[in-house]
């Protein structure tokens, strides 16, 4: 029997989201088919824009990645998978990939944990929390390049506020934050956590505000402590929101560029040089468009594989909780 796609209102379980699912029901009557045609017509402007803005550039990028195209040469030759082979055997690029992976893993974990922690305190509707909610917008409203420049000044070992206040507290005040690999990483992660934890917190505050009160009250009456309530009820109910925050932050963290370029420039040495910085150098300083496209495709593939994987892991974790 022909499988048809129908819309199912699952508002009660997904907070108003409408999901599509496969259903093995009877063929739709002609009236419904006509209605489907109208739906497609209504969607066509958005689909055309999507095609032009995302799918066409992606196809262009894939095509370029199979060439040795360069802005400096008028000739462009098909080289097959040569670029990919070169990238995957290039020690410095593998180092950059590791830098990217470590950065994404660290900042996403820290931001998720910190976001959940802050959301626990800030989701209750009080005046102070409303003010805090408004203030939380500030860090991620600042352009990443600007915040990186400000952080660079704050961390200046001679005039920066960070060393100054550390000195006042009796802590070491001569730290060359950006001249040492470990402290440069601390600075980069600190900047990202400062900038993006509020984003995660706001998503989770919205999630927590929409949670039904009954299960929490019932658990409380049954004698569950705060941690048990959070672990077995709130966390499970929050899973869709955590999933959204996790996926968005993972994708954003992979795309981080400004703070690396401005704060550390990839240094000391190349200890904080992520793939994005390498792509920038190859594409916009050496103008080897073909090679840079291959690097971008590899990064895109990594994100595309990781995102559903993360959602599946999260889904499995919450299902286990249900069991």
């Amino acid at each position: 029997m022909q499988k048809e796609v129908t819309e199912v209102d699952v508002a009660s379980t997904t907070g108003g989201l409408k999901l599509a699912r496969k259903n093995s029901g009877p063929a739709l009557p002609k009236k419904h088919k006509n209605r489907n045609g109208i739906y497609w017509l209504q969607m066509s402007p958005a689909l055309i824009i999507l095609l032009l803005m995302t799918i066409a550039p992606a196809i262009f990028l894939i095509t370029k990645s199979l060439t040795n195209d360069s802005l400096l040469n008028s000739t462009s030759n098909f080289v097959g998978l040569e670029n990919y082979q070169s990238i995957l055997t290039d020690a410095s690029l593998i180092r950059s990939a590791k830098v990217t992976a470590i950065f994404v893993a660290l900042v996403v974990i820290i931001e998720m944990v910190a976001g959940i922690f802050f959301a626990q305190f800030l989701h209750k509707k009080t005046r102070a929390n409303s003010l805090a909610g408004a203030l939380l917008i500030i860090p991620f409203a600042v352009a990443p390049a600007v915040s990186a420049m400000v952080f660079r000044e704050l961390l200046n070992p001679n005039y920066g506020w960070v060393n100054y206040f550390m000195g006042l507290l009796g802590l070491p005040d001569q730290i060359d934050w950006l001249g040492n690999s470990f402290t440069a990483w601390v600075a980069l992660i600190g900047l990202d956590v400062w900038q993006w934890t509020p984003f995660v917190t706001l998503i989770l505050i919205a999630g927590m505000s929409s949670l039904p009160a009954e299960p929490l009250e019932a658990a409380s009456v049954d004698g569950a402590n705060g941690w048990q309530i959070f672990r077995h009820i709130s966390f499970r109910l929050l899973a869709p929101f955590i999933g959204i925050a996790l996926v968005l932050r993972t994708i954003q963290a992979f795309k981080t560029f400004d703070s690396f370029l401005i704060l550390t420039g990839g240094g000391p040495g190349d200890s904080t040089s992520p793939l994005n910085l390498e792509i920038y150098r190859v594409a916009l300083q050496s103008f080897r468009v073909g090679y840079a496209s291959s690097m971008a495709i590899i990064l895109l593939a990594a994100i595309s594989v990781l995102t559903p994987l993360l959602l599946r892991i999260l889904g499995r974790a919450t299902q286990n909780e249900e069991v």
Binding site: L72, D176, L178, N180, G266, G267, P268, G269
Partner: protein, 489 residues
């Protein structure tokens, strides 16, 4: 029916007009003949004179890196003189580089004149209009005297003279008087006119060097008079003497952060220790990987390791070292521009000198040039604009805004500036330009540069010893050069 009714005189291009009837042809014949006649007359006169004045000449320029304020101030005079408006778009370095390459990649004719930095030139030379023919055509040099021989030879040849068939080659006689005909005869051509010449120069706290107490203390420690260091040994000795962290004073700054500036520090020391300041030769010889390279990196690392430089040196750029010096944190610095002490540095006075030499010298220099876009529709007027902006008269006027000129006569004028500090800077800059060493001519210099400055930074932070660092960089650069189509010996 479509049939050709006439041919032009140039290239045999056919003019087609749809035949509507004999009457229309008859009506069209007279104006077409008239147009062709005008075309014939025009083609018989020299092509340079043929171009009518456009309303605008569009210039793509840098921002503070090439002192856009100085050039901007000169633009109204050009319009007053010629009636042609110079419209200048400015962009910061990274955005400018991308824009310039993108413009040439699509063969855009939008900009008539484009500013070009020396590291880009080998890759762009084919898209730039060769100018030797323009320079020798008197009718195109009527707005201001060209006086090519007035350009500082080393600056001119390093910046603007290329062999487009082999852009890696440097002009063989870099100190010869500039002569477009001789350049052409040697198989090279001129691809721009220098407008902003930068070189690494030493700045020092004159008030500290002249302080009797400091002089006496130095004499006691070093057994000689305190003088502005001329050699690398003296430089290290004086840097050590002034280093007093408890008084928030250090000997000197170094630009050891990850960026082009670290490469410039290294190549300056490489030349001072007798190596090739260009780092990579005309035939892609990796000259930086040498005994002089080891000495240069060891000297550099030791200055930092010994604490003669302030905290933050291994992440500092040219901008940050300027802040360090201007705030009174160091007694000496090396930078690409003149400096001004903060008001908080009481009694502070700056002096300038060439960067210290070893058994040879070659302070880093790099110059911006104004080039004519090969695809421009206003090439002759583009040249006239570039020639006028880089003329001695305009460069002299731009001194008020701090331009770094490339002409000898302008430096003579700069010596008479009322601000003694600025005049002293110009004197030093001219000396540095006369002996400077530029960059290797490579189409992928950006990538090579990244390997070098990463290596310098790694040595500066103590992560790796100089010799293995140089060897590893040589391996990596060889790979990059080969991938860019070079044969590395």
């Amino acid at each position: 029916m479509v049939r050709p009714i006439a041919t032009s005189t140039k290239g045999g291009n056919m003019l087609y007009i749809k035949k509507e009837g004999n009457g229309l042809i008859a009506k069209l014949r007279l104006p077409v003949v008239a147009v062709l006649a005008i075309g014939l007359v025009a083609s018989a006169t020299p092509s340079h004179a043929a171009q009518t004045a456009p309303k605008q000449i569009r210039i793509l320029y840098a921002t503070a890196e090439a002192n856009s304020a100085a050039v901007q101030a000169a633009l109204p005079s050009f319009k007053a003189k010629t009636g042609v408006e110079l419209v200048m778009d400015t962009m910061p370095y990274n955005a400018l580089q991308t824009k310039v390459f993108a413009e040439f990649a699509v063969k855009s004719s939008y900009y008539d004149v484009v500013i070009v930095d020396t590291p880009w030139s080998p890759a762009l030379a084919q898209s730039l209009e060769p100018l030797s023919g323009y320079m020798t055509n008197a009718s195109l040099n009527d707005l201001a005297p060209l006086d090519a021989a007035d350009f500082i030879p080393k600056v001119f040849y390093d910046t603007a003279v290329y062999n487009v068939k082999n852009p890696s080659l440097h002009y063989p006689k870099p100190t010869a008087k500039v002569d477009p005909a001789a350049i052409k005869k040697a198989g090279f051509d001129v691809y721009g006119l220098p407008i902003q010449a930068n070189a690494l120069a030493l700045a020092y706290r004159k008030d500290l060097f002249n302080d009797p107490a400091q002089k006496a203390a130095f004499k006691k420690v070093a057994g000689r008079a305190l003088t502005v260091p001329k050699t690398l040994d003296e430089f290290a000795e004086v840097a050590e003497f002034f280093t007093q962290p408890d008084k928030k004073l250090y000997g000197t700054t170094l630009m050891a952060g990850t960026g082009d500036w670290a490469t410039d520090d290294f190549k300056t020391l490489l030349a001072a220790f007798g190596g090739d300041g260009y780092m990579v030769g005309n035939k892609q010889e990796l000259n930086f990987n040498s005994a002089a390279g080891v000495k240069a990196l060891t000297y550099y690392r030791n200055l930092i390791k010994s604490g003669f430089t302030p905290p933050g040196t291994t992440s500092a750029s040219w901008d940050e070292v300027a802040t360090m010096f201007n705030s009174g944190l160091t007694a000496m610095t090396m930078n690409y521009h003149d400096l001004k002490l903060d008001a908080s540095v009481a009694g502070g006075v700056i002096g300038y000198a060439k960067v210290p030499a070893g058994n040879s010298e070659g302070p880093h220099f790099g110059t911006w040039m104004l080039s004519v876009n090969k695809y421009s529709k206003n090439k002759e007027w583009g040249y006239r604009a570039a020639q006028w902006l880089t003329s001695a008269a305009q460069s002299t006027a731009m001194l008020q805004k701090g331009i770094h000129p490339a002409r000898n006569s302008v430096y003579t004028a700069a010596g008479k500036l009322p601000d003694a500090n600025v005049a002293a800077y110009y004197k030093t800059l001219k000396q540095a330009l006369a002996v400077g060493a530029g960059r290797p001519r490579l189409t992928n210099y950006g990538e090579v540069d990244a390997v070098i400055f990463t290596m310098v930074n790694n040595v500066a932070t103590g992560k790796i010893e100089p010799k293995p660092a140089l060897a590893a960089a040589a391996v990596e650069i060889t790979k990059l050069l080969v991938s860019a189509g070079y044969k590395v010996p």
